[in-house]
Every structure is written in C-alpha cells, then in structure tokens.
C-alpha cells in the first residue's frame, strides 16, 4: 500500500485541517471535532433550517465538500469508513441551528443510523427541533423489512443538493424532511468496481478481482456486489446499469436527472466515455434527461469503478439541481 499520508490515526483530522485551510473563505472547523460548518458571510445573515450530513471518511468530496450556501450547513467526518460519533454530530447540530430546526441527512448503514439517532436524542434534550432522513438509493441490494435495507451511496449528493436548495429558499423543517424523503424514493443507483479500495488501516484491497473482471453492485465501503463478470465495453456496462435501474421505476415518463460518479481512481476520461454511452442509450429510449453531472462526487478511497444514479425528478427539482452553490465539491 502506497498512500500520501502521515500516521494512519491522523488521517481524518489532517484531511479536515487541510480542507479547511485551503478553503477558509467557505468553511471552518468546529472546535474539538472533525466537523466543518459554513463560514461564508451569508450563513450568519440569512436564517434557514440547518442541513447536516456526515458519515465515515473516504468518500470525499462527500460530505465536507458540499458545505456551503445552497447545500449543507455542516458536515461531520468520521474515521475512514466509520460513522462519526454522536457528540461530534451533536456539536454540528448546535453550530447550525438558528431556531428553525435541523434536518439530518443520513446514509443507511447501521452505524450511521445509530450514531445520528443518539445525536438526535442529545439535541432533542436541548429542545432543538430535529428530523432525519435516511438515504438508501443503492438498488443492488434487495430491500426487506427484516433487514438493514438498501445502502446509501452516490445518490446522497443529489439529495443534499435538492434539500440544500429548498432549505435556502426558506422551506420549513417538516416540508424539508418530506421533500427529502420523496427525493430519496425517486433516486436509484448501481455501481461497479474494477478494483477494490484499500482501507489504510488494513493495507490491502478489500477484495480481489481478476485482470479482466469487474464486480456489479458493489457498495462504497468495499461491500461485495451481486455478480463478478468479465469486463465489457463501456456501452455494455451502461446498458446493464440502465436496465437494472430503469426496471425499478414504475413509470418511465417524466423528467430525469443523471449522475455518473467516479469511485476515486477512475479518470474523468473514462467517466465521460461512460456518460456518453449512458446519455446516448437514454436518448434512444426517449427518456428525457434534464440534468446530468459527471465526476468524483461520492468516492470510495482509491476504488476504481463508477456508479450510475438516475432520479425521476419533479420540474422544480431540476431547477434546484441547477442552482449555483458555493461549495468546494459540487
């Protein structure tokens, strides 16, 4: 394992410190935590419902890279692939509450759900109005009441963008939570890996794939997927993922937003080629794509791979997706 780091245990604090130093006009660190909060002048001036997200590190620019006017109010970074602790989340909640309440955007992992729940309980004890929504857009995992359910992956960034835009426009906490849930229900993602990520503390890739193999349906923490296959041309990969996702929508009419997401070590060149194939196939199927974005948004350390997210979007969601924001990573 070769990585540009110092000590393994210093990875997250040093990363957050670097991010904040390089972007001090946009964000600042909440003292004693690895959470960052908006530092732009509008933050203090214009009241809104606070929007807080967070989770394990290793998915940068998610979440700290999406803190800014029109997106997140604060983001909490846990250890690599590990949910942050309740007290850190609690500090972020207190730092952004302006009396109008706070919405938590949580990715659906046991750890995240439990830690955010505990933080919520702490904030409620302070009489802070607080709600949470749980993103579970990864359709490669079957859902069922009796299990953990689907994972939260790349679609999270679209949820953060739309909820952030609505919060800026003055939407109240209850409506915001309802909107967020509706967005989540309309957002589906599947990812593929060409090469697994190496967790620094582990020192070797989470799983091995052959020289010509890819894995369909992987998660953003090296969670294994639903099948290992020979690599196909980009066109075929696009076709497979589109088919898998579109079959989950009950209707195929309306407007769509598309996110092509690099997993960390996949060059933009390949992402654009894949985007070309995705957008060509959707156009051929008469599916109207009104918003699309390509890039490393929700990564998995140095995983080589890509994910496709498709959202069936309301008209105003498209508008909200297109609104400018002042973040590092959008």
């Amino acid at each position: 394992m070769k990585k540009i780091i110092n000590k393994t245990e210093d990875i997250v604090p040093e990363m957050i410190s670097g991010l904040v130093k390089a972007n001090s006009d946009l964000v600042k660190q909440i003292e004693g935590t690895t959470a960052v909060v908006r530092n732009d002048s509008k933050f203090a001036e214009e009241k809104q419902v606070g929007v807080v997200s967070g989770g394990g590190s290793g998915h940068e620019p998610l979440h700290a890279g999406y803190v800014g006017d029109g997106m997140l109010s604060a983001a909490v970074a846990g250890e690599v692939f590990t949910s942050p602790t309740p007290d850190q989340i609690y500090e972020a909640i207190k730092a952004v509450d302006q009396g109008l309440g706070v919405l938590l955007i949580v990715k659906n992992y046991s750890g995240d759900v439990m830690n955010f729940d505990m933080a919520k309980e702490m904030a409620e004890a302070d009489d802070i109005k607080i709600k949470s929504i749980v993103v579970d857009d990864d359709i490669s995992v079957e859902n069922s009441e009796f299990t953990q359910g689907k994972r939260g992956v790349a679609g999270t960034v679209l949820v953060e963008k739309i909820v952030g835009a609505a919060a800026r426009s003055g939407m109240n906490l209850d409506d915001l939570a309802a909107l967020g849930q509706k967005v989540i229900d309309s957002t589906k993602t599947v990812g593929i890996a060409l090469h697994a990520a190496t967790v620094p503390a582990v020192g070797h890739p989470g799983f091995e794939l052959g020289d010509d193999e890819i894995e369909y349906g992987i998660g953003i923490h090296n969670e294994r997927g639903y099948s290992v296959e020979k690599i196909q041309p980009s066109k075929e990969l696009a076709h497979e993922l589109i088919k898998k996702i579109m079959s989950e929508f009950s209707e195929q009419t309306g407007h769509y937003a598309v996110l092509i997401n690099g997993m960390g070590a996949t060059p933009l060149m390949e992402q654009y080629i894949f985007a070309n194939d995705v957008l060509n196939e959707l156009a051929a199927d008469n599916i109207s794509v009104d918003f699309s974005k390509v890039g490393n948004q929700v990564t998995s350390l140095d995983m080589q791979g890509i994910s496709l997210t498709i959202m069936r979007a309301d008209d105003d969601w498209i508008k909200m997706l297109k609104e400018p924001v002042t973040t590092i990573g959008w």
Binding site: D87, S110, G111, V199, G219
Partner: protein
C-alpha cells in the same frame, strides 16, 4: 455471580488487552463481510477507555461502566461504538440496583437490541451476548459457551449490519462484532477463574 470494583476493572483491562492484541484479526474478519475497520474501531475505543480510566479512577461500579460507555460512544463511531456504548451505559444504570452479572449482561444485551433494532439470529454480537447472559442465569457460563456462540455466527445469514448486504454470501464467515464480544466474555472468564 458478582464482580467487585477491582475485578470489574481487571475484566475491562483484560478486554482492552485482547482487543489490542487482535486488532488486525478483527479488521480481517470485517474485511471479509464488512468494511474492514472493526479492529481499528475497537482499538480506538480501547485506547479511549484506558485514557479515561487513567485520568479518573472510578469510585464505584456505576461510574466504571459509565466511563467505558462514554469512551466507546465518544471515540468509536461506526456500529460498534453506539452498540457497546449503549450496552455499557444501560449496565451502569442497572448496577445501581443489582450487581448480579447475569442481570447486567442481559440488560446490556437488551440495550444492543434496542439500539440496533435487532435480535438473536441476525449474525451480530447479540448472538454472543444472549447465550452468555442465559448461561450466567443458569450458572453454566464457560469458555465453550462463548466459543460455540461465536462459531454459530459462522453459518448464519446476516440480516443486520453491513454483512447483510451480502445476503447468502455472508455465510461461512465469523461475525466480527461477535468476535470482539467473545474477547469481552473470555476476559470475564479469566477474571472469574482467578
């Protein structure tokens, strides 16, 4: 069965030792069916427990359990932080009423179930805690109880936690949280055996 303050502290210290000696083993187990960090998570928690205990000597059992709970809640994160944290927090409350180990471990286990929205048979640490609690009740707590409980997780299909995403493929691997809990109860056995 009961433990006094000094022995309970010994229990926790032995637990710390075992986790620190087996950090990469726990990471490996979690790499197979999770995200590879259970050892690092627990080691971070254990360091925090050691720090906290060094900073302030707990004056009673409730304070000792609470110190462990807070260290886990504040320094671990992930799934295991709130789980172990909740279990020990609930035990710190219960120990004001009773020092019976069977009751304490059962209360801790109930805390796991509440926090994790989970139950036995889901291939989680509960599958070690619940059999241990029962064996304490029926006075046959032993190394083989712990080992069997741990090994039984191997053939389970996970329905909670990260391993659940693997569905059928989660079979054939020990649950990492059950392994760290097995260390906890092996440490307990060592203290009781003295």
């Amino acid at each position: 069965m009961e433990l006094n303050l000094a022995d309970t502290k010994k229990w926790i210290e032995l637990f710390v030792e075992k986790v620190e000696d087996n950090t990469s083993e726990l990471n490996e187990l979690d790499t197979a069916i999770g995200d590879g960090d259970h050892g690092s998570n627990m080691a971070r928690g254990m360091a925090a427990v050691t720090d906290a205990l060094a900073k302030k000597e707990p004056s009673d059992l409730a304070e000792l359990y609470k110190t462990v709970a807070f260290a886990m809640i504040q320094k671990v994160g992930g799934a295991s932080g709130p789980l172990y944290g909740t279990a020990f927090l609930d035990m710190s409350k219960k120990v004001k009423e009773t020092t019976d180990l069977a009751e304490l471990v059962q209360v801790g286990c109930d805390g796991l179930k509440r926090r994790g929205q989970s139950d036995v048979g889901m291939k989680t640490m509960i599958d070690v805690w619940q059999p241990v609690a029962e064996s304490l009740k029926s006075d046959n707590f032993s190394k083989s109880i712990v080992e069997n409980a741990l090994n039984a997780t191997k053939d389970m299909v996970a329905t909670k936690g990260r391993a659940s995403y693997l569905e059928e493929k989660s079979k054939g691997h020990l649950d990492p949280g059950s392994q760290s809990s097995a260390y906890l109860f092996e440490a307990l056995l060592e203290v009781l055996g003295e």
